[in-house]
Amino acid sequence: MSLDPINLAAFLGMALVTYLTRIAGLALVGRLNLTPRAQAAFDAIPPAVLIAVIAPSALATGWIETVAALVSGLAATRLPLLGVVAVGVATVVGLRALF
């Protein structure tokens, strides 16, 4: 079982920039005086980022993944977190088995 020093350096670099992003917000608190419109944009950060991360998998992989993403979206209006994951994964597995 090995731990390559160059790999470890890469992990440490990744960890450092990640930690900086996680604590940088502390410096912003109290300095953000947002208009209602800016507040709406601020509130849109979580859905915008979540969708940006998964869009390649949902929209640029194949029609099966796109259909499963739409089904997951519909399920999300009715079901809790784990139910949505179960429905999405089942849709992908089912469609891949059929086509």
């Binding site: 450092l16 992003t21 604590i23 859905p47 997951s72 994964v89």
Partner: protein, 237 residues
């Protein structure tokens, strides 16, 4: 609320997200092993970085020797969202000491952040609640990603189990928790299209930046037209 109630609330909030992350951890470990990383290295990366999206992108970029600059840049870009996430969460961390804040934020991820934001609408976020979410979540991620690296080859193609789609479905479910009507619909449509196009034509990690900025711009525009149409609308829906 007593601290046991807080701990129970943290555990009951995190377990569906933690369970959803189990196949993702196995998948991550298996993919990393496929790129030549040892189980110890997978453990080290998961423990030090603890950021699913950035870790998947890193494995995609991985080569030998490790392209350190590209890896750090991709990680910074994908995790830039944490700056705004922590700015939003930090004022809600009531009763956290300085040390608890700096330690607690080390393991802030999309899932425990989103759940804490949701809870902050009705309850104060206490250190016990936060660490009751974070500790099991981190332990499970370390356990599953390392195990995935050990048995990755034996599991075979993760696509057969649909495990590659669990992450996508999980994020779609999390978006629903932030739904605020028309503005969110424009945000999601704009972020999705921009991200998919950037992924197709510029490649990772640019899709995250392009999608996030387009989503914000769409929310800005949609909120403006809403304010003009209904000037007396209360900001609290």
């Amino acid at each position: 609320m007593s601290w046991t109630d807080e701990a129970r609330a943290g555990l009951s909030d995190i377990w569906p997200a933690a369970l959803a992350a189990v196949p993702i951890g196995f998948l991550f470990g298996a993919l990393a092993a496929g790129k030549g990383l040892s189980p110890l290295e997978v453990f080290a990366m998961s423990a030090l970085v603890f950021a699913g999206g950035a870790q998947f992108a890193a494995v995609e970029l991985w080569a030998s020797p490790a392209p350190i600059l590209a890896l750090v840049f991709s990680t910074a870009l994908i995790n830039a969202r944490h700056i705004l996430m922590s700015a939003s969460l930090a004022p809600k961390l009531s009763g956290f000491s300085r040390a608890q804040t700096f330690l607690g934020l080390y393991y802030m991820a999309d899932e425990n952040w989103a759940l804490a934001e949701k809870r902050a609408r009705t309850h104060p976020i206490t250190p016990v609640y936060w660490f009751a979410m974070a500790i099991p979540f981190v332990c499970l991620w370390l356990l599953t990603s390392t195990t995935g690296a050990i048995i990755g080859a034996a599991l075979g193609d993760p696509k057969r189990y649909g495990a590659d789609f669990a992450f996508t479905a999980l994020f779609i479910a999390l978006v629903a928790a932030f739904w605020k009507g028309r503005v969110t619909a424009w945000t999601v449509a704009s972020a999705g299209i921009a991200s998919a196009l950037a992924y197709r034509f510029a490649g990772p990690p640019w899709h995250v930046l392009a999608g996030a900025l387009s989503g914000l711009a769409a929310a800005w525009i949609a909120a403006g037209s809403e304010a003009a149409a209904q000037p007396c609308e209360s900001p609290a829906e």
